[in-house]
């Protein structure tokens, strides 16, 4: 199977998962809170008289383990749904092959 990982802005977590379910029928995702740094500028922080730049902005990291056949469509669905129209920070997604996918409850291989 294939693992599709995506970094998206936190407001889009639900939207992206909805899009994947609607457009590919895939159900199953694991989400982790993340902070990230990319092309976008970060935030200027001020604390007690010290000004400093932090390159990080809040993001979420999503992992979908999907059928090989679905991979492309999942990626497409994510990329669409993650696009906010903002100037920066929408993130990226990618795929990687995975093997030995086991479903704990049933022990069956997927």
């Amino acid at each position: 199977m294939v693992k599709v990982e995506a970094v998206v802005v936190r407001e889009r977590v639900e939207t992206v998962i909805d899009a994947v379910e609607e457009e590919t029928g895939h159900v199953g995702v694991t989400v982790v809170e993340a902070i990230g740094h990319g092309r976008e500028r970060g935030v200027t922080h001020e604390y007690r008289g010290r000004t400093f730049e932090s390159r990080f902005l809040p993001k979420a990291l999503l992992a979908f383990v999907v059928e090989d056949a679905l991979a492309e469509r999942v990626v497409a669905a994510i990329a669409d749904a993650a696009r906010t129209g903002h100037e920066a920070g929408d993130g990226i997604c990618w795929t990687s092959p995975v093997a030995n996918v086991v479903h704990h409850r049933t022990g069956e291989r997927l």
Partner: protein, 467 residues
Amino acid sequence: MTHNQLLIAANTIWVVVAAVLVMFMQAGFAFLEAGLTRMKNAAHIAGKNVLIFGVASLVYWLVGFGLAFGNGNGLVGLHGFAPSVDELLAVGKAPYAAFTSIPGAAGWLFEVVFAGVSLAIVWGAMAERAKLWVYFAFGAIFTVVYSLVSHWIWAPGGWLQRFGMQDFAGSTVVHYQGALAALAGALLLGPRIGKFGHDGRANAIPGHNMPYAVLGTLILWFGWFGFNPGSTLGVVTGGHVGFFGYVALTTNLAAAAGGIGGICVAWVVLRKPDVSMMLNGVLAALVAITAACGFVSPWAAVLIGFVAAMVAVVAVPLVERLGIDDPIGAVAVHGLAGVWGTLATGLFALPALAATVGVGRGGLLYTGSPYQLGVQALGLVAVGAFTFTASFGSLWALNRLWGIRVEPHVETAGLDVAEHGMWGYPEFYIPVPGGYGTESHGHLGLAHAHATIPVPEPRLAPAADAA
């Protein structure tokens, strides 16, 4: 010392202690509201209470106290602005003759904390989207509006006071007024991004910290023992020594009934014993009993509290259904419960206690006469018209002139980082281990030592030192 001086001393102790308890309610609002809003706005929401109490204090010193309690006519006080030391030390003398047996300074202290509470209520409904300068501008405006209305109802000779309107500690003056401005603000600001889906259905935006909300509520309950019993302004009321103890009892019974009512009604109506609704129930009950606390019997206090909780639990979702985004429920909890409390006093006021307090008459239930109820209603209408108009008008103007709502990207990022430059919980958003550049000075003494010894392994410490 004369008897009278001792009495003044006792009155002043009680009033000052009560005022201090009410001042602490700012911490209650700060935590109730921070708890019921999102993490990204936590510092802003909590911190705003420090800011607005500062604004209220300065404005109330300059003009508010004079407008409210300075000698004047039925509409407004005309003396006692930026009072002098002598005016503040004098007891029962112009311009503060209103305070017959405490020094003017004690009167000011007790009244300024009330102004602060009323202003604190305003921001509950405007939470998470108002610009910072609005707290300054509208804070000052509202403090003046508040002062005028408190003159009508509480100052000797105030026009509603002359009708005998019964608002013992301010269901109308403090809570209803605050809620009216809150409503105006919520309407003008519009809902928070994401509050309503495109189907128009309201979405839940859970607050980030229920324990904070609980702490805030318990602090408010605590402070309310200054709010209501302190409004006796002394230790003797209509010949009853320690009447404020009785006021504290009705206050506590109402709050208790409100808490039980809130959680039970939520359990039945919303099918979950929602903790935040239990808290709203307590607050709604306290708001409602605020007008009635000195006028009603214990069982009426229980009833008033329970009904107030029902009102709150039912009204919070209703307000949302009207498309109004009120994150804390100020309109329901302070507004509607305030109306209920004010009217309930007109229903349940005991003639004997009305006489003791020396304001108005017995309620409909006992006298059969609708007079008192009518007066209460008149007050609600008059205050409602005036305060809502004044608040809406001034906020509308501020909005047209400079815009009172933050930019969407600021709202999305959160007010803490976008307006104040730092997250409320920095370590949740940026790595703050040893401070920026911790390792970058790895070649200076201390940090070098640091760089050559083991990570946290208490048991290796000796070895480490050796290194």
